[in-house]
């Protein structure tokens, strides 16, 4: 199997608190990997270590290796960090549209990375909004502020904005937890569609969601990876007793 991201002995410390302990995982390319586990166990930390977002916080130390396309991204110099982030689109828990119009939100990444003509930009923005299933709802008000959209629409806008820079990976941090059930379902469907093009890493603490969409599952418990493998295997034949307990709802 072809792996997109691989970690070797990854450790993350907040102050002196060891938030992630010796993480060794492999994330398969062009599949949907669900990271599951109870709240506060390091799922988001793991996700944010993949695009080096952790370092904009105070007192975070990271050791070990995160290999993306065979290169350890923890070795990247500060000036190269935007490159790795460009490879990793992020969909956060609460949608944060940029403080500009709908059009400009999608065009933002294109403008900072490429020199495009007006026509090319228009076309690219339309394509991305189409792909995120938002085009029909916004095509007549592209220059309205993004804040006028509903929360679910904002999340799809964030998705369109993320895929506009053509990342290889989509990091999704509980992207449906703030949304109503219909919007959540739309996002889920989009992720299933997008995994053909992108490697999707989905952090979720909704077990049912993981069961619906995941190809591959990583179970994190108190900063440790207790189990990882193809979704069917983990869900039907969990090896670790804690995984079993989590799956039947005894913990978390």
């Amino acid at each position: 199997m072809n792996y997109q991201i691989e970690t070797k002995n990854l450790n993350v410390y907040y102050h002196n608190n060891n938030a992630l302990k010796n993480i060794n995982i492999k994330i398969p390319a062009k599949q949907l990997t669900a990271v599951i586990g109870p709240s506060g166990c390091g799922k988001t930390t793991l996700l944010k270590s993949f695009n080096r977002l952790l370092e904009i916080q105070d007192d975070v130390k990271t050791s070990g290796q995160i290999l993306v396309d065979g290169e350890n991204i923890l070795d990247y110099k500060a000036s190269e960090v935007p490159d790795i982030r460009k490879k990793m689109g992020l969909l956060s828990q609460k949608p944060y549209p940029l403080p500009m119009s709908i059009y400009e939100n999608v065009a933002y990444g294109l403008r900072i990375h490429h020199n495009k003509t007006k026509e090319e930009l228009d076309q690219a923005v339309e394509n991305c909004l189409q792909e995120a299933g938002l085009w029909n709802e916004v095509k007549d008000r592209l220059h309205d502020p993004a804040t006028r959209l509903s929360l679910g629409q904002q999340q799809r806008l964030c998705l369109a904005r993320a895929i506009a820079v053509k990342p290889e990976v989509l990091l999704c941090d509980e992207p449906t937890s703030a949304l109503d059930p219909i919007s959540a379902q739309q996002i889920e469907k989009l992720l299933l569609k997008l995994k053909k093009e992108f490697t999707v890493v989905l952090v979720t603490h909704t077990l049912r969601q993981a069961k619906r969409v995941a190809d591959y599952v990583i179970f994190i418990y108190f900063g440790e990876v207790l189990e990882q493998g193809p979704a069917k295997e983990v869900f039907n034949h969990p090896k670790h007793p804690q995984t079993k307990a989590y799956l039947v709802g005894e913990i978390g």
């Binding site: 944010k48 904009i56 935007p82 956060s92 944060y96 403080p99 990375h113 502020p145 804040t147």
Partner: protein, 283 residues
């Protein structure tokens, strides 16, 4: 009566009293300026420069030199303080600077904020003499810029600190550099707060007499270059009001009235302007 209810009422009265003192002073100040200044107002005040006899309460003339002088001093100073302050305020954020260093700089700015404006004036005056320059628009602008920087910077810094981390993370995860994130996203999000800071700085700068007293000098003419000395509304108020002639004192009130109107107009205009930007700000 219950002790807690008494406590509640005492504090309510205290708060109302404080409010009355502040609002009352404001009303009285504006009232005195309007009552004394309004009768002395005339079209000539806005359109003419003073003649020699004008300072004695006779003859014709106006204070156009001071009105324009004030604008020529305060607008460039505020623009400069905005540019320098914005750079400092953005740099103070966690993204660029270690929190230990930024808290030290914030403390320094707070101290600078508290320094009386006459000190800025004397400081610039000293440099002016050292460099063999004369009191001029340029030195006045520098003094006002220095006076405004801590105010504008600290205000913008507070506004920028309120920008949600998730928004910055969104910008970073699209591959933005720190500079792009700061200039294209953070600055836009914090814009209403930034503008409020700039207005505060402008209000302080345009109304300050002490810092320009020695540095911008005084002249009855409208300055034609930045090396000319110039009058300004606060200095002409000072000059008029210290005159023993009642008619001239009245003109001090009229000048104060004009200053008040300028500040008010700028505030209202900018507030209307911000509405355009506010719609983009995410909550």
């Amino acid at each position: 009566m219950n002790r807690r209810i008494i406590e509640e009422n005492v504090f309510k009265i205290l708060m109302l009293a404080s409010l009355a003192i502040v609002l009352g002073s404001l009303v009285i100040i504006v009232g005195i300026v309007v009552i004394n200044g309004f009768p002395a107002l005339s079209i000539e005040m806005f359109t003419q420069t003073p003649t020699g006899r004008y300072y004695l309460g006779q003859g014709s003339g106006g204070i156009l030199n001071a009105i324009l002088g004030s604008l020529f001093l305060a607008l460039p100073a505020t623009a400069l303080a905005y540019l320098i302050g914005l750079a400092i305020a953005l740099y103070l954020q966690r993204d660029f600077l270690h929190p230990w260093a930024s808290s030290f700089i914030r403390f320094t700015l707070d101290v600078l904020w508290g320094i009386p404006s006459i000190i800025y004036g004397v400081f610039c005056f000293m440099f002016m003499i050292m460099l063999g320059m004369r009191a001029s628009l340029l030195v006045g602008i520098i003094a006002l810029t220095l006076l405004e920087i801590p105010i504008i910077t600290r205000y913008m810094d507070e506004a920028i600190s309120m920008v949600p981390r998730g928004l910055k993370e969104s910008a970073y995860s699209l591959g933005s550099t720190k500079f792009e994130t700061a200039m294209k996203v953070v600055r836009r999000q914090a814009f209403p707060g930034i503008l409020a800071g700039v207005l505060l700085g402008l209000g302080r700068g345009i109304g300050d007499a002490a810092s320009i007293l020695f540095t911008s000098g005084f002249s009855s003419d409208i300055p034609t270059s930045i090396f000319d000395s110039t009058a300004a509304l606060p200095t002409i108020i000072f000059r008029f009001y210290t005159s023993p002639i009642p008619a001239v004192q009245q003109r001090a009130y009229a000048a104060a009235f004009i200053l008040l109107m300028i500040v008010l107009t700028i505030s209202i205009a900018s507030r209307l302007l911000t509405r355009r930007f506010k719609k983009h700000v995410i909550k």
